[in-house]
């Protein structure tokens, strides 16, 4: 019961803040709403008993990445209006496409979850040799998901090198 109340309250908050992020006229305000949004998501993780994920969510997204957003938003002068695009209904088209994709995805999720055995969702992975949330996570990452994990880190490394090369005019 309490869990349900928490979940729905948080969901409403998260959605409301999400709307606030894209509707606020001032960029800095929208970044602040984004931070609050992330914090609410972190609380949602805690409700789902994923403390590690919650803490990482705050540390990486709220504490790190959004600070960089703010940094950029404060540095850059956004007074100039964006130039008029040739197709005035471009935004509508893009929005329509995105919405369609989103709805498709949602439908796929619904269909998928109903087509499966309901018990398989709650069934845990094979028994862990370790106890505790973080320990289990670490165990999984370095055994079953080792290759995706390493691929992700290499991808991030490549992205970082690319960003540095783009940012520095001459090397």
């Amino acid at each position: 019961m309490a869990e349900a109340i928490a979940f729905y309250t948080l969901s409403i908050l998260i959605l409301g803040l999400g709307v606030a992020v894209i509707t606020t006229p001032r960029t800095v305000h929208s970044v602040v709403f984004l931070v609050l949004n992330f914090l609410c998501v972190a609380v949602l993780y805690v409700v789902l008993q994923a403390e590690f994920l919650a803490v990482i969510q705050i540390l990486v997204y709220a504490g790190g990445i959004v600070v960089l957003y703010l940094f950029v938003v404060m540095l850059v002068n956004l007074k100039r209006q964006p130039e008029e695009h040739q197709d005035p209904r471009r935004l509508a088209k893009v929005g329509l496409g995105l919405t369609g994709a989103m709805l498709l995805e949602l439908a796929a999720i619904v269909v998928y979850s109903y087509s499966r055995e309901p018990s398989s969702v709650t069934a845990p992975s094979p028994a862990f040799p370790v106890q505790g949330n973080i320990e289990q996570l670490g165990w999984l990452l370095y055994t079953d998901y080792l290759i995706p994990f390493e691929v992700a880190s290499v991808l991030l490394l490549v992205a970082m090198v690319g960003a540095i090369i783009l940012a520095r005019r001459e090397l």
Binding site: V76, N77, L78, K79, R80, R169, E170, L171
Partner: protein, 373 residues
Amino acid sequence: MATQSAPIFDTDELVINMGPQHPSTHGVLRLVLKLDGERVVDCDTVMGYVHRGIEKLSENRDWTQIILLTDRMDYVAAATNNLGYCETVEKLLGVEVPRRARYIRTILAELQRIGSHCLWLGTHAMDIGAMTVLLYAFRERELVLDLFEEYCGARLTYNSMRIGGLPLDLPSGWDRKAREFCDVMEGKLPEYEELLTNNRIWLERTRGVGVISAGDAIGLGLCGPPLRGSGVYRDVRKDEPYAAYDEFDFEVPLGTRGDTYDRYLIRLEEFRQSIRIIRQALDGLPEGPIMGKVPRLLKPKAGETYHAIESPKGELGYFIVSDGRATNPYRFRVRPPSFCNLQGLKPLIVGHLVADVVCLIGTIDIVLGEVDR
């Protein structure tokens, strides 16, 4: 590889006003800084906030009344201002100053140099964030002020010299106290050095910051420690000796790199040389009168002269024109060392960061009362 692409966003230069109310501009100096990020790309120096028209006032005052106006220029080194003015008028009048008076003048001027450098050291270190040095330096400056108070009764604006000599002889026991002060001061210098000279952060903040070559320094008319920091041997005390400096043995410290650290080392060394001069002067203090033969009514013959002394800030020059008829100078001009050194600020700070600006204002050691007059 350089990609030529138009910037997507407008990047404005940030223009900030540093001063006239700012904790590190050492008075009412205003710098209009154009910043690219934190890097200074342009700088305009605005001054004149304490312009009191001392030159104009002096042209309407008696020759003796001007002495106390000179106090108000470089108010942390009033005695050297007095000295420069009195010597210039004596040069115009052709008055011979007794040897004892010249010795005492030298002692006072060197004490003043120590006092002024104390203030510089404290504020300079404070600007860079080392707050303790300020208190230490002011502790010693207090002793200098005490000595002056005992000599002439004032602690800041001394009015301590007269045309032709001195108003007062040294009080009894003053020379002993001055000697004690020399010992104390010599003992305290290692304290400053311990806090700063080999401090990693201090080195990083001052080494290679505000480098100016010898040629540029001469061209820009820098004087005093900023000029000597670039390795130019120029000290009015040696080149054009005045007071009793030709009778003493002292060295002129020179820098090699011309950066803030060199200027810092030079001023610290000047503490030691000043102590050395004071000791020599106290040892050899001759007996005799303290006033030369000066006419009651001062009316120098028509003519003009320029006379410079080495104030703690640099070459302090007086250019005085007498028309030979009035009891006041026809033209009274001060060549303020702070003004000239301040002119060297812009080439120093362009290209540096905001944090270096305060460091460089400190290193040129200006007093706005003297810049603006």
